[in-house]
């Protein structure tokens, strides 16, 4: 963060319009998914299959005779108990996100790309068949076409078959790979299917409409990993972000703002350049509550002022009353003391002394002094009450006894003389101090005058001098700072020297350098020797004090320079040395505008810039997100060049690189694939890259198309596991076909 960014706002940015804000909010519940009421059209038609694209991002369910799935929902189940009504709710799909209670209880059916939680899966089937409106007794009377992941483990398929045949009594099941269905829908026969989806990325070469499973490869990177990556990056970028960031919000940030760079390195190098950053920087506003300062009306303000005045007056009155009382008391005292003095004159000396002692006086002089003091204070307070300014005439004290020699004095008087001498020296010291102060003031005035004169006569020279001073102080402070950081590092030269010095001081052994005849310890002979103790102190108070002094000097210098040097602007201040306008970190964190941490709106903003290309880029370079696998293009290249021995065949595959899956929807994915593959493949290879018409839904559509055209045909029979076969051959039984997995 750029220090001083808040107080120094460059005039150029002040004129800048506010940035476009992208808001994130809690995901809204879209409402209940309606149940289809047209099941009559499908009831009893065994040739109409229920097609389920069972993906880890979304499950899509519909009829094979239709062009789009009926319902689409995340494969989650939220089973939670509402304590208030003491009832367990079973909510599936979007319904699981109905409110925050159900959302936190939501469980996904998938572990990575494999179905692992069959309780959730069963609820998903329940939900799907309910929403399709199926009302058959004794089972779902339609074949099921179900997609599964590449090389789905046998256990998962087995459990799935058991579930579908036993619980739902389906007549037959066809398992197939989603991306191959998508390729089928897009009319491909020979090519490389690149399926970049939610949990994984698969590359499957297809020859003569059949997936070459022996070469199929998986890259463990997909949308979910990318969202995790983004989450980590943002958590580190904005550690201590004031508001909570939810997973769905991060998902939406990833989907809305990320894109794939055509030339990553080149684009990344210039991504944070201030001049053009505005085009790339996305400001994400998180919800926040403004701390509103109450604005008081003028009337209220006036009232408050009046109240304050009133209370002030009351206090004054009280004080006056107290003063008056005190005054009265003092007057009484004076009268009493006067009478005491009068009475004393008539008495004997001894009696008078006793009387004095009774009232706490040592002698007559003290009584007189006291009376004088009281009278003076009475006079002063009276004058104050009456508003008379009293001229403070300081009477010069006299010290008469000092002039007289001791022989001529009584013992008592010698004592007094001593007191007078003390008072006199005090008095003189006071005078001296005053004179000195006066002199200093005079000197400062003269200096200021001289400097002003110099400034007026030779502004340039003055500025140069002050600037040099300024730079000197800044350099010195920097040096101090450097030394401090070096000392915090145990291996730095500064710390090593310090440790050496400590060891040397602590050792009793004489150093080797000392020669014979010169083994006298001369430490301390030179005053500078003692500086060693200052140098080895870990926290140096003296230096800290000096630092403070330098800071104040710096401040005053800067104030002067700001005032008189036309070229010295706020950017030149020592604190603003890291000018946010030139700061890479500022651009990274706060974009192109100054940042005010006090502003609640700005404090709750995130700036997405480099993340926009950095996060999705990991599919090309997984190592940058900690996945130790080759990138998608390297896998493809290796597959096409090294593993396909038949050149003609691999050439046919170059012609059709087919991209499908949600990740393929990122802007620039296709171009990037084409560019990078082109640079890796042999010269003039007939490269063709295309994206599925709908990378999300084409898997479902392909499955629907395949089952619609093949149902009842040989291809269908070769792929579908019937209920009879399941009963006869067991739940492990599977059939290999063009678009499905092979026995593993």
């Amino acid at each position: 963060m750029a220090p001083g960014a808040a107080e120094t706002s460059a005039p150029s940015s002040a004129a800048k319009p506010p940035p476009t804000l992208y808001h994130v909010s809690e995901p809204k519940f879209l409402g209940e998914t309606p149940q289809s009421d047209d099941y009559r059209r499908f009831a009893g038609r065994k040739e109409v299959a229920i097609v389920i694209d069972n993906g880890s991002w979304n499950t899509r369910v519909g009829w094979s005779t239709e062009s789009s799935p009926r319902i689409s929902f995340p494969p989650v189940l939220s089973k939670y108990r509402d304590r208030k009504v003491n009832r367990v709710f079973t909510l599936v799909g979007n319904d699981a996100y109905a409110d925050s209670n159900s959302r936190t209880a939501a469980k996904n059916a998938f572990d990575n790309d494999v179905v692992s939680n069959f309780d959730v899966m069963e609820s998903i089937f329940d939900y799907s068949f309910l929403k399709l409106g199926i009302s058959n007794d004794n089972g779902v009377g339609h074949p099921i076409v179900l997609t599964e992941t590449l090389c789905n483990p046998n256990y998962t398929r087995k459990t799935m078959s058991e579930l579908l045949f036993e619980a739902y009594s389906v007549p037959s099941i066809v398992y197939g790979i989603d991306s191959l269905f998508s390729y089928h829908y897009n009319g491909g026969t020979n090519g490389l299917v690149v399926s970049a989806s939610h949990s994984t990325t698969h590359l499957i070469p297809v020859v003569n409409s059949r997936g070459v499973m022996s070469m199929a490869t998986r890259l463990n990177w997909g949308g979910s990993q990318a969202v995790d990556f983004l989450t980590k990056l943002l958590a580190l970028k904005y550690s201590g972000f004031p508001s909570k960031v939810y997973q769905p919000q991060l998902e939406s940030l990833f989907l809305e703002h990320c894109y794939i760079s055509r030339d990553y390195k080149a684009e990344m190098s210039g991504y944070l350049e201030m001049g053009t950053l505005d085009e790339r920087d996305r400001v994400i506003q998180f919800p926040y509550t403004e701390i509103v300062k109450e604005q008081k009306t003028e009337e209220e303000l006036a009232k408050i002022a009046e109240r304050r005045k009133e209370s002030g007056r009351r206090l004054q009155e009280q004080a006056a009353k107290m003063r008056l009382e005190k005054l009265k008391k003092k007057e009484e005292e004076v009268v009493y003391y006067h009478s005491l003095l009068e009475r004393g004159k008539g008495e004997t000396k001894k009696n008078f002394a006793r009387m004095l002692e009774n009232d706490g006086f040592r002698d007559e002089a003290q009584l007189e002094k006291r009376i004088k003091e009281l009278e003076k204070s009475i006079r002063r307070s009276r004058n104050k009450d009456l508003g008379i300014e009293e001229e403070e005439e300081e009477e010069v004290p006299t010290f008469p006894l000092l002039e007289i020699a001791d022989e001529n004095l009584t013992e008592e008087e010698i004592k007094q003389k001593r007191a007078q001498r003390l008072a006199k020296s005090n008095y003189e010291a006071r005078l001296r101090l005053r004179a000195e102060k006066e002199k200093e003031r005079e000197r400062q005035r003269l200096e200021a005058e001289k400097e002003e004169e110099r400034r007026n006569n030779d502004l340039e020279g003055w500025i140069a001098e002050k600037r040099a001073m300024h730079e000197g102080i800044v350099a010195k402070l920097k040096e101090r700072e450097l030394k401090k950081t070096q000392l915090s590092d145990r291996k730095s030269l500064a710390s090593l020297n310090r440790m050496k010095a400590i060891a040397h001081l602590a050792s009793d052994e004489p150093t080797r350098k000392r020669r014979r005849g010169n083994d006298e310890d001369t430490f301390g002979a030179d005053d500078d020797d003692w500086a060693i103790y200052r140098d080895i102190a870990a926290v140096n108070e003296e230096e800290e004090e000096e630092d403070e002094e330098m800071q104040t000097e710096l401040k005053s210098l800067e104030a002067q320079l700001l005032r008189y040097d036309p070229d010295f602007s706020e950017d030149n201040l020592a604190g603003a040395k890291s000018d946010w306008n030139k700061s890479l970190i500022h651009a990274f964190l706060r974009g192109t505008r100054p940042f005010d941490p006090e502003n609640q709106a700005e404090a709750n903003q995130m700036h997405l810039n480099v993340e926009r290309i950095r996060v999705p880029e990991a599919i090309f370079e997984p190592s940058m997100a900690g996945v130790d696998q080759a990138g998608i293009v390297e896998i493809a290249k290796e597959m096409l060049i090294s593993r396909f021995t038949d050149e003609k065949q691999s050439e046919r595959i170059y012609r059709d690189i087919f991209l499908t899956g949600g990740y393929a929807m990122f802007k620039g994915f296709e171009d990037r694939m084409r560019d990078t593959l082109m640079s890796m493949l042999p010269f003039e290879a007939p490269l063709g890259v295309r994206t599925a018409k709908d990378p999300l839904l084409d898997a479902w559509r392909g499955a629907a198309l395949w089952s619609k055209t093949n149902v009842g045909q040989a291809a269908w029979k070769g792929a579908a596991i019937t209920r009879a076969e399941y009963m006869e051959k067991g739940s492990d039984y599977m059939k290999e076909h063009n678009l499905g997995n092979v026995m593993g």
Binding site: F89, L91, F118, D126, F129, E166, S583, E611, M624
Partner: protein, 172 residues
């Protein structure tokens, strides 16, 4: 105690599918106990089953052809070298010994191999191309200013940055 938010509860009631009539579902269906296994457990079981079947088949071949030691076909081994990790090779070899010629693809062995290209150097903080590495934290950085930030990082934060690209030291 009245529900604080009756509308939410009502909404949940209308969404709840637990009590709905499901005529298509078998009345006698009871899910098998412990059918939920996470991916790791599933893969571990696959490996165990494989190992067992290989032991059995080895015992078989040993019994069948004593002395006639058929080596594994070389072409099959060459195909293997493309798949990189040792574990994968081991499991693929097991497959091979089943005499199928080519290892059958399974969930465990279709993972892409590590990259043979040199990894790019990117600034761990800003993501820009990074030419420098801090010898102390091993973080990569783009310029002097980022280096200053790295120096000022709190304890453990540098490790979090490294963890993002899997380069942190994990003590086991």
């Amino acid at each position: 105690m009245a529900p604080s938010n009756p509308s939410a509860t009502m909404m949940h009631e209308s969404l709840d599918i637990a009590l709905l009539d499901k005529p298509f579902k078998s009345a006698t269906w009871k899910p098998a106990p412990r059918r939920n296994k996470n991916l790791k457990q599933v893969l571990a079981e696959v490996n165990r089953a494989q190992a067992a079947s290989i032991m059995a088949s080895q015992a078989n071949t040993d019994a069948n052809n004593t002395g006639d030691n058929t080596p594994i076909p070389e072409s099959a081994l060459a195909g293997l070298s493309a798949r990189a990790t040792a574990a994968q090779q081991a499991s693929a070899l097991q497959k091979l010994s089943l005499a199928s010629g080519q290892p059958a693809p399974t969930y465990g062995n279709i993972d892409a191999a590590p990259s043979l290209h040199p990894a790019g150097h990117w600034c761990d903080l800003t993501g820009l191309p990074a030419s420098y590495t801090d010898p102390k934290t091993k973080l990569r950085y783009a310029n002097k200013e980022v280096y200053g930030v790295i120096r000022g990082l709190g304890q453990g934060v540098a490790d979090q940055y490294l963890a993002v690209r899997g380069a942190n030291v994990v003590l086991k």
